[in-house]
């Protein structure tokens, strides 16, 4: 039986096992070990939440602290990936992408195409995202849709410890640039995680829960919100099928279309802002490819079109919750043929 581990442990273990397997794998980022140049403990941090703690002890100089210079070190990770290393660079918060975005979207993402298929850029950028920790507008965003927009990038948003480990191992072995998005409210989530290394392929959505009445397609932390809503709705006799995208690029269109063909009703749930996010993307795709299967209009449940507020009262209102999902599911039931 698989042993239980947290999302955070699963990520740490994936990094350790890949570093063990392949010595071209290196980890870099601000304070990923910590304590560099100080009188105190080395490996004092392991990142602000301790996710990479312990790697330095095992792999020494392959765990590299960086100055606060995201543009330079994220770019260096990209460059190193074209030159024989497999760097896993930590962009502490996804919100900091603004500081280094050029190296990601104009450089890493485009090499292969621009260079006529000659380049491989096996870089992973691990980054934490999402609201819920009262971290306010510049430390709480769900910016994966921005990366998903860019051809050449793969974008991963694990919802469980099992997926986090398998998808991170896949990300490291993958020969394309991967943005690996970790929801900061999930780090302490526990689940079954095999001790052995395993890779989970990209582009395969997970059917988290089966049901015939309404499909809820979602990702990341919202998978758990959807499941909570689905459990409650089951009591009212409405059975929801919950689909976790796992990766937004590539996106498993087949599974989405199949679930919609099965239920005929769709709620898309996304913690990102409502414009140009995964919910709009999926809704558009379903309208185009499975319109005839739909028994009624699609509903989107998302955060509002505002920055993430600081005050707890506001942030709680901001984040989509199970009640909002239940309401949307009921509305879809009512408005369908």
């Amino acid at each position: 039986m698989a042993r239980t581990a947290t999302y955070q442990q699963a990520i740490n273990e994936a990094l350790a096992q890949e570093m063990e397997r392949d010595e071209t794998v290196i980890v870099m980022g601000e304070d990923v070990a910590g304590g560099l140049g100080t009188d105190g403990e080395r490996d004092a941090w392991g990142g602000p939440l301790g996710i990479t703690k312990g790697l330095y002890g095992k792999y020494g100089d392959r765990v590299m602290d960086t100055p606060i210079s995201e543009s330079a070190f994220i770019g260096a990770a990209v460059g190193a990936a074209t030159a024989g290393l497999r760097p896993v660079a930590e962009l502490m918060f996804i919100d900091f992408m603004g500081v280094c975005f050029d190296q990601i979207f104009n450089q890493a993402a485009k090499f292969r195409y621009m260079f006529g298929g000659k380049a491989e850029t096996p870089v992973v950028i691990r980054t934490m995202y999402g609201a819920g920790l009262r971290a306010a507008a510049q430390h709480s965003q769900c910016l994966y849709p921005v990366f998903t927009h860019i051809p050449g990038l793969k974008v991963v948003t694990p919802a469980t410890p099992y997926d986090a480990k398998g998808l991170l191992i896949q990300a490291i072995r993958d020969n394309d640039p991967v943005i690996f998005c970790e929801h900061k409210a999930l780090y302490t989530l526990e689940g079954d995680v095999p001790e052995e290394p395993y890779a989970l392929p990209f582009g395969e959505a997970n059917i988290v829960r089966e049901g015939d009445d309404v499909s809820i397609v979602t990702l990341g932390r919202m998978v758990h919100v959807a499941t909570e809503a689905a459990d409650a709705l089951s009591g009212d006799g409405i059975e929801c099928e919950v689909v976790d995208l796992r990766t937004t690029s590539p996106m498993d269109e087949d599974t989405i279309l199949e679930t919609v063909e099965n239920t005929g009703r769709l709620v898309v749930l996304d913690e990102a802002h409502p414009r140009c996010n995964m919910a709009t993307d999926i809704a558009a795709m379903v309208c185009e490819k499975a319109f005839d299967s739909l028994k009624g209009p699609i509903k989107q449940v998302t955060a509002p079109h505002t920055p993430v507020p600081f005050a707890d009262t506001l942030e709680d209102l901001y984040i989509p919750d199970a009640a909002a999902v239940q309401k949307a599911v009921k509305a879809v039931m009512e408005s369908s043929k």
Binding site: M1, P194, E196, P197, Y198, A199, L200, P201, I207, D254
Partner: protein, 369 residues
């Protein structure tokens, strides 16, 4: 506990089962039950099956209704003798419900835990149930693991100690499968018996596990009390090579599901969770390579490498087959040496020990004595 009142509770099938859903009652209130009668259908995320009556009596009460979800150990119904008063049953139910504590999620004591033993330098995971008697060892087939005995292990363990192991390359055992041959696995099983201090055992093998049991009986007949071969390999050269190849190659749910459906007579049993669990196993580093090695040694070019029909009958032998087995044809059960007990079950498939567990358990239990 009140005289003559016996609860039927939510069973625990497999290590990870926490709750089950009532898919439907198979007997009405007031019906008489014989031991082994199927009483109620239960669905879990992984699997669906029927709960059997443990003792004779009258089904007096449907406590849980169709659609209810109950934790393991939750009260499904009541069996009692005819003479027991309704009031006593009411009191029993009230009392049971008031005192019932569902097992904690992380409660390690909620069932027997697997153990690990080292055999030929490899960690082998196994699960032991029951005690006393001549031990039995359950050997799963290609791509399986000890959970393949979900519906058999408890029943067989009622009268003896029963060990189910994960073969190398499978389940949570080491992924090094040596040359992948049946002989290699036979040595592992013998080594496993050595490690547990088992002098002589009943070997129960499914599919490739049957061929392994045959190979142990051939190499070390004194160590084998009997062999039970279920949908077994080793009795003919035919095997669905496409299945083996497809099972190994499939990387995604959609690709794997059709192959797994071939195993069952009722494809509805191939739940999402079952396929996910198989994928989770296949995705572990080294598994695909191990399965490939096994296939090359065990069924190169789509035909079984080793046929051991002459071994059948050299020790007490029971053969069970599903007539509709699509992986290894039931025709291999024809014309086996004298003294081999053979039962072919109608409209059953390769996973006959799961789909017709009651019947299979009865046959084995009788045989092992």
């Amino acid at each position: 506990m009140s005289e003559g009142i016996r609860p039927i509770c939510m069973p625990k099938w497999g290590l990870s089962m926490k709750e089950g859903k009532v898919a439907g009652w198979l007997v009405d209130e007031g019906d008489a039950l014989a031991p082994g009668d199927e009483v109620i259908d239960i669905e879990t995320e992984k699997i669906s099956s029927a709960v059997e009556a443990a003792d004779a009596g009258v089904l007096r009460r449907h406590v849980a209704q169709e659609g209810d979800v109950l934790p393991v150990g939750g009260l499904l119904g009541i069996v009692a003798d005819e003479g027991v008063a309704d009031g006593d049953i009411d009191a029993f139910v009230t009392d049971f419900q008031a005192n019932f504590v569902p097992p904690e999620d992380d409660d390690e004591d909620s069932g027997p835990a697997t153990e690990t033993v080292e055999v030929a330098g490899r960690n082998i995971r196994y699960l032991t149930k029951g005690e006393g008697g001549t031990p039995a060892i359950l050997i799963h087939g290609f791509g399986g693991d000890l959970n393949n005995w979900l519906f058999n292990h408890d029943a067989l363990a009622a009268r003896r100690v029963v060990h189910a192991l994960d073969l190398p390359g499978h389940g949570s055992s080491a992924k090094d499968v040596g040359d992948g041959s049946v002989g290699f696995f036979a040595d592992i099983v013998t080594g496993f018996a050595d490690a547990l201090g088992i002098e002589q055992a009943h070997l129960v093998g499914h599919s490739m596990g049957g061929a392994i049991a045959l190979a142990v009986a051939r190499a070390a007949p004194a160590r084998v009390a009997s062999i039970t071969l279920i949908g077994s390999a080793g009795l003919g050269s035919d095997i669905d090579g496409d299945y083996l190849e497809g099972f190994i190659a499939a990387e995604r749910r959609k690709d794997l599901k059709p192959h797994v459906e071939k195993l069952f007579s009722d494809p509805a049993l191939v739940t999402r969770q079952l396929v996910n669990d198989l994928l989770a196993f296949k995705r572990i580093d080294g598994v695909t390579a191990a399965l490939g090695t096994i296939r090359e040694a065990f069924a190169p070019g789509g035909a079984q490498a080793e046929v051991m029909r002459d071994v059948a009958g050299s020790v007490p032998t029971l053969v069970i087959w599903g007539a509709g087995d699509r992986i290894i044809p039931a025709s291999h059960a024809d014309g086996l040496p004298d003294g081999v007990d053979c039962t072919v079950l109608d409209s059953q498939g390769h996973m006959v020990q799961m789909e017709a567990a009651t019947e299979v358990n009865r046959l084995i239990d009788e045989r092992l004595g």
